[in-house]
Amino acid sequence: MELNGDHLSGRQRIVGAMVLAVGLVFIIRLFQMQVTTDEYRNRAERLTEEQELLHPSRGLCLDRHGELLVNNVPGYELMVVPRAMAGVDTAALATLLSLETDNLVSRLNKARRYSRYKASPLLRQLNAEEYAALSAELWKYPGLSIRTKPVRENVFGIASQIVGEYREVDRQDMNDDGRYRLGDYKGKSGIEGLHELDLRGTPGIRHHLVDVRNNVRNTLTELDSMPVAGDDLTLTLDTELQRYAEALMRGKRGAVVALEPSTGEVLAFVSAPSFDGNLLTGTSRGAAYDSLAKHPWKPLYNRAIRGTYRPGSIFKMVQGLIGMQQGVISPRTHIVCNRDVIGWHGAHTQDDLRRAVVHSCNPYFYDVMRRMVNQHPDKDKFDNARLGLGWWTERVKDFGFGTDLGGHVPGTRSGLVPDTTYYNNIYGRRHWTFRTIYSISIGEGELLATPLHMANLAAIMANRGWYMEPHLIRDIGGKGKPEALHVRQDVDVDEVHFTAILDAMQDVIEDPSGTGRRALTPGIATCGKTGTVQNPGKPDHSVFMAFAPRENPQIALSVYVENAGAGGEWAAPIAGLLVEKYIRGNIDDKARESRVIGATYPLDPTFVDPASLAQIQAASGDPESQDAP
């Protein structure tokens, strides 16, 4: 038995035990890898499953008549798979793409950092021509491919400030909303931004199984979902009026806001100089944005809602209405034009309210204000000023001044209606009297309002004592106007008090001595008021507010032209033309039209800025328009 080594046969157990031990370790390890942890499963899914987002088509923007304002048009993205780009002549490719070689290399590196195997965008928002130029050469570069991705198009290139920007998300957007991924787009400002959630829709997801070379090999259809298109927005804008208003304001600085008085819907909304929003999409964005941002006239600044101006003489109507409601004056109150207390203009001596409005009599409204402020004969002048102003501030805010008017127009500034706290902070308690603050009585001094506030005032006049909060949306996805946009605000002035003021406003335009004669459109009973806002060191701002027709008004608007002189000179004819255009649909008074369209700065010969003049003429593409009045 020695021969067979049987004394060693116990060793078979040791060898067997080793086999068992190794097998057991393997099984435990397999259990740990396959059953107790998701780590490997997740890793495998990351490798093999690719979720392709199916982008929903973004909601369109239509005007109030259903005309297309903002559209989706085909766009292209150049995609790159870095792994397939090894050994590519980057200099030649850079020439093809008209990029600097360094720029191209850094873009390629960025793509490589994202993934060597997966495609990522190298160039975005190429248009059809750029795509055509590229596609002929594309076969030389195996790592490059084209993916279609629609771009936004502003059909007429109008209302760009209010439509807003639709562009690539930044890190902040991705942190705020996990739905956005690198390279996605979203509305950043204006309507695009405010209604991003309505417009964007819901993306679909297609699940693919990919192989190691990132070729799609199979689909997991049971998990897929289809994209749901975004809601279309119907805006309140009237394309014709908007285009016309932008044309009239070309070559000028200022703003136009037109409202439908009965609904508060914004019909036209211009901040001049305006620009074509299509410049800010696609490959041209950087250069275009730069030139707009650096332009001395600040076209990116939305004057219609961000520009806060002194309202000027148009504010006198507010004073008259509050005064009547309070009983300190009546339509028959005559006040001596006391030219010692305040600046004046025109030839008149002792007007009633109607004539005072027509003549824009400063001493008249100085006195109305004094009467409203000093209502407490038993108190001293400091207490009277404090109590009177506190009361007055509340009345003025009823008209929407100093508020954001409901905030439905994104970015609206409140302006300023100075109150007692305001003056206390400046002068100290009991250190100011009516004589300190009197300039607000004629819409000057510390009062600030945007053109939107002024148009809203015109709507209050048109409605005889109330307004609907102004807004831009008529319908979202066929579901009608949101309830939140139907907000009526009543002004605490009885309707009877409006008659005298409206008579005066009609006189402003129709009376041979009216300051707003240039707003006259025969056959349309238009009520308006000029304003000539003082502007120390520079020419006055030209202001006009109006509504028409007097009975059953359809349009209320304000026009503000910076540094253009008297309100009747430029703002009034622009308002008149817009009224004629909106109500008639065409312009009979061609002379008035060509005078306005032909005009560009310097509207006032004393204000010349040759540098900006040359730039604006180049930018507006309107070289003929130099015949200054």
Binding site: V22, R29, L30, V35
Partner: protein, 439 residues
């Protein structure tokens, strides 16, 4: 002889044969899946089709092997060994280089790997040599000769180079252990393993040295080893009887110096001899950070494939990791990934169980032999299977470094399948003769 009228079928160990059959069929199913050829199985041009041809060839081969009298294998073992040695030398000269190793003879579109047959031939020669005069392991010279018989083919294979197969030859230590090699050799082996792990871990670390600045932490390790070893030696020496102190000193010093030499050699080998990618593979295994993110690409994907299988797997031919090429060499060395991904824990544990069963069954066959030749041969077979099992599955589940070595009966490849068929076929015939033989 009675063996002439031996009824092989009646004496055959059908259990082993059946296990082999099951493994081969399972393996083939996984090859079909891994090569994504489920639709084109019957087109013999694909890998699955080729494997099917090889399976037919091997089935015929198995029948042939069982029909040959066992004495033939015993008497021709020297011939086999000599022939294989010649082939191993020839392949170094005229062989085809595949994957960096010159280990293939090209025959048309089929390739033959002589190292697969070297395992069988070495097993045979070992059995023949150890059972030759029935008195093995008495002289130093015999032991040296045994070692030379194993080392010669292993050395030639190392020249190809094919580290995996060399490792398999290391498995013959179990045969020698069973035949009387001191258990201390195994203990020293384990000790070397521990030393190796510590050397690699500390060798990859950074440490600060006076005058030298910052370099590998290995030298601190070597210093501590020397100090602690000496201290231990002195303590042990003090605790032993005076008459044995001399022996303790001698053996202890030898062990300590040997260990230090081994450690230093390994460290220098890692740093100086191995290429960067080889060193990185080893570092990856030990969880040491490597700069190159692609260094653990294979094993990361292999583990993801297996780990994503869950309890029951994704179903046959439905594993995207393996079907879509994420796992390298998935039909050969990484075939177990397909098992793990598509058959889940139950399937892969089942396959591990099948291999354990096969190896233990072969050990059982070995111990029931009256012929020492057959016993040694059977142990050699078990050792070879065990080493393949250990290294291959250990590799794909991340417990062993990436060393190319096929999984027996599972991996795609004719040479491998034929080699294992030879190995097991001879064993089954020898086992069937166990009662007829009195040697």
């Amino acid at each position: 002889m009675s063996s002439r009228s031996l009824n092989v079928a009646a004496r055959l160990d059908w259990i082993t044969l059946l296990t082999l059959g099951v493994l081969v069929v399972l393996g083939w199913l996984n090859i079909v899946s891994a090569t994504a050829e489920a639709e084109v199985v019957w087109d013999m041009g694909g890998k699955a089709g080729k494997q099917l041809i090889w399976m037919g060839v091997c089935a015929v081969l198995m029948v042939g092997l069982l029909a040959v009298e066992g004495v033939f294998y015993i008497r021709t073992s020297v011939v086999h060994y000599t022939a294989v040695m010649l082939l191993l030398m020839a392949v170094l000269v005229v062989g085809r280089k595949v994957g960096g190793a010159r280990s293939w003879f090209g025959v048309g579109s089929f390739g033959i790997q002589p190292s697969e047959f070297a395992k069988t031939a070495t097993a045979l020669i070992l059995a023949w040599f150890l059972s030759r005069d029935g008195r093995p392991w008495r002289t130093f010279k015999t032991r040296l000769q045994t070692l030379a018989l194993i080392a010669a083919p292993a050395g030639l294979i190392l020249l190809q180079p094919d580290a995996g197969t060399v490792l398999v030859f290391g498995g013959f230590i179990f045969v020698l252990y069973r035949e009387g090699l001191s258990g201390n050799v195994l203990l020293v082996g384990v000790g070397m393993l521990v030393l190796a792990v510590l050397t690699i871990l500390l060798g990859a670390s950074e440490s600060w040295y006076p005058f030298l600045g910052s370099t590998s932490g290995f030298w601190w390790f070597l210093l501590s080893l020397a100090l602690l070893g000496t201290l231990t030696l002195l303590l042990v020496r003090a605790a032993t009887l005076p008459r044995r102190r001399k022996a303790v000193s001698r053996w202890g010093t030898a062990l300590l110096l040997g260990g230090m030499a081994f450690s230093t050699g390994l460290h220098l080998g890692m740093e100086q001899v191995l290429k960067k990618h080889q060193r990185e593979r080893i570092h990856v295994l030990f969880g040491i950070d490597v700069d190159n993110p692609d260094a653990d690409y294979n094993i990361r994907h292999a583990k993801a494939a297996i780990g994503s299988g869950g309890w029951t797997g994704k179903g046959w031919a439905r594993g995207p990791m393996t079907a879509y090429g994420f796992v390298p060499e998935q039909e050969t060395d990484f075939i177990f990934c397909t098992v793990g991904e598509e058959w889940g824990f139950l399937g892969s544990a089942g396959v591990v169980g099948l291999f354990m069963f096969l190896i233990l069954r072969v050990l059982h066959l070995a111990e029931r032999q009256r012929s020492q030749f057959t016993r040694v041969y059977a142990y050699a077979v078990a050792s070879i299977l065990f080493m393949h099992f250990l290294v291959n599955i250990g590799m794909v589940i991340g417990l062993a470094p990436v060393i190319g070595i096929p999984l027996p009966f599972f991996s795609y490849g004719g040479s491998s399948l034929m080699g294992f068929t030879l190995l097991l076929g001879i064993l089954l015939r020898l086992d069937a003769e166990r009662f007829a033989v009195l040697r």
